[in-house]
């Protein structure tokens, strides 16, 4: 039945990158050659990834739509499905359904400065936006990335962080939580919201994008408010538990808002209007 909305596409794991303890990325290509050519998505959209025999898990698409021919996902080994995915090797087959959900309105941000703020495993969805914007670098003003993790080891995309840090058209501020630093650590020590406040990006003509643990997002939104950002210019992506991804299974809703259908990308203004169901 070609209209089976629960039927995943088969994808091959083309490459695996160890990002941090228990965190890895897969570079995936569709088995179906035609789909490989035509598959398109927008930055911020997500998918359901299958480990056959164990089930499906929801992650964002961590690669940028400006990079064609493959998708990347990044996940932390934490449950049954991600545990199963962690045991797969290059060349193995898994499943993918998507893309689902809405996206970051990158086209509306032309001419604006961008500030990306992420914590821990919250960087993958933001990475998609960062690369999307870096691949269209001339369309945007200043780009700032504030990224923190619990420890130095927990920082994901270490090679890319170095690349962003080396570029003179990106301002990268890295941080680790107090106690998470190593003797060699060159970055900041502190929590992301505090580090963001110290970095004090200008709010004028600037869009902020944030993702991380719920508690971090909460304080990042406060910090941005203090810095003068209006709620309409602050975007986040809500990563609730999902099973179907298409508005049917009933678990991702925040009050009356179905994150899989009406999200996962929201402005802070929209988040503040939601029922307190986080």
């Amino acid at each position: 039945m070609s209209n089976n909305i629960y039927l995943p596409h088969l994808v091959t794991i083309e490459d695996i990158y160890e990002e941090a303890p228990d965190v890895r990325s897969f570079r995936l290509v569709f088995k179906d050659k035609a789909l490989r050519e035509t598959f398109d998505f927008k930055t911020g959209q997500f998918g359901l990834y299958s480990a056959f025999g164990l089930g499906e898990s929801t992650f964002c698409i961590a690669s940028a739509p400006t990079r064609k021919g493959y998708i990347q996902c990044t996940f932390r080994k934490s449950g049954r499905v991600t545990g199963g995915l962690s045991e797969l090797s290059i060349g193995d087959t898994m499943g993918f359904r998507g893309p689902y959900g809405n996206f970051f309105p990158v086209d509306e941000w032309k001419g604006k400065n961008l500030v990306f703020i992420a914590g821990g495993i919250g960087l993958p969805p933001v990475r998609s936006v960062i690369w999307n914007c870096l691949d269209r670098r001339e369309e945007f003003g200043d780009i700032t990335v504030v990224y923190g993790a619990r420890t130095v080891a927990d920082l994901v995309y270490k090679n890319e962080l170095q690349h962003w840090g080396d570029r003179n058209d990106v301002r990268l501020i890295q941080a680790v939580d107090p106690g998470g630093q190593t003797p060699e650590w060159q970055g900041k020590v502190g929590f992301v919201p505090t580090v963001l406040e110290e970095a004090a990006p200008i709010a004028e003509n600037t869009v902020a994008v944030t993702c991380g643990p719920p508690i971090m997002i909460k304080f990042v939104l406060k910090a941005l408010e203090k810095l003068g950002f209006s709620d309409e210019n602050v975007y986040t992506t809500l990563e609730n538990k999902m099973k179907c991804g298409v508005g049917k299974c009933g678990r991702c809703n925040v009050g009356d808002v179905y994150v899989c259908k009406e999200g996962p990308v929201y402005t802070a203004a929209e988040v503040k209007k939601m029922y307190n169901d986080f």
Partner: protein, 336 residues
């Protein structure tokens, strides 16, 4: 046109006609001393003296468990096969007018932009034959949610019981007309006097508009009222399984590491793992938050999002609840 009559002694003919033409006949029967919807082969098994079947007939359009795909994991890849829904005439006799309205709510969810054909193909071939209520119990509250035994929406065929145990037949939809035509040997013409219908008394202290308005005002989410009213809920999820509009499900794989099935299984928003994140964070950590979600789903999400009823007032959740948590008491609280 003269009324069509479905005589009690012709029920067997109807059952045989449906089953004989490759269809499936569902009706209330006794099982473990409870009246439940089940497949019927003999008309003698059909129970006519009941208020509502314990289960909702939603399981015939949205099965408790169903395979959506089969897979085998091989050395050089995965062989994945989609499942096709076997669409055949399925007849539910003995639905009540309240629950007959639930299918439009389920359909709204299962066709919300993405069409779930596992649901739609079944619903397309489902014939709902309602028998209007001549009895009610304390748990019935259809009149409080704007329905009644006289409600005909959602029924393909609407039956009125007569004094002699026969049925006066009214076809409500094209599907219903086609059904009667296809099995016309079981129907006769003539007149008869219907038994009086019994209307559950409307709960005067409940005003659905007030409930809706209170729920729309988001401040109630942090109100102690939820914890106070629903503290005794043990999270068994029974209310969701018997509810004709509850639609939540899980998608899981079953089998071995080499071969198995991907299944869609009923799930319940009342379970603690339902919304639990991999990180350990749970947006609905406390039971009252889960109960609040279900109530919101019925009286806010469904009406606001789909302009359909989230609650049909069948009262099954009240009858089945092991701690006697009565949804109408919460409705009353939110009518104040």
């Amino acid at each position: 046109m003269a009324d069509r009559i479905l005589k009690k002694e012709n029920l067997g003919k109807l059952v045989a006609s449906v089953n004989g033409k490759g269809g499936r006949f569902i009706a209330p029967v006794l099982d473990a001393r409870q009246v439940v919807f089940k497949d019927v082969a003999r008309a003698e098994d059909i129970v006519s003296d009941y208020i509502l079947a314990r289960n909702s007939y939603k399981e015939y359009v949205f099965p408790q468990t169903e395979v959506v795909a089969d897979f085998t994991v091989e050395k050089h890849g995965v062989d994945l096969k989609s499942r096709e829904v076997e669409a055949r005439e399925t007849v539910v006799l003995g639905a009540r007018p309240c629950e007959a309205t639930s299918l439009s709510s389920l359909r709204a969810i299962f066709t919300w932009d993405y069409i779930d054909e596992f649901y739609t193909k079944r619903e397309d071939t489902l014939v709902v034959i309602t028998v209007a209520c001549t009895k009610a119990d304390e748990a019935c509250f259809c009149t409080t949610v704007g329905l009644s035994p006289e409600t005909k929406t959602g029924s393909d065929v609407y039956l009125l019981e007569t004094e002699s145990g026969d049925y006066i037949v009214e076809t409500m939809t094209e599907k219903g007309k086609a059904f009667v035509e296809r099995h016309k040997a079981a129907f006769t013409e003539g007149g008869a006097k219907a038994k009086a219908l019994v209307m559950p008394e409307k709960i005067g202290t409940i005003d659905l508009n007030k409930v809706g308005a209170r729920l729309k005002d988001k401040s109630h989410y942090d109100d102690q009222v939820w914890a106070r009213l629903t503290r005794k809920c043990i999270g068994c999820g029974a209310c969701t399984f018997v509810c004709p509009t509850c639609h939540c499900f899980d998608i899981t794989d079953e089998g071995t590491a080499f071969a198995g099935e991907r299944r869609k299984n009923w799930d319940a928003c009342q379970y603690d793992t339902f919304t639990l994140h991999a990180s350990g964070h749970n947006p609905r950590h406390y039971q009252y938050q889960r109960w609040r979600n279900r109530f919101m789903c019925k009286f806010n999400f469904y009406p606001e999002k789909f302009a359909s009823k989230g609650c049909v007032g069948c009262g099954r959740c009240i009858r089945v609840c092991p701690v006697r948590l009565d949804i109408t008491e919460v409705m009353e609280e939110f009518s104040r």
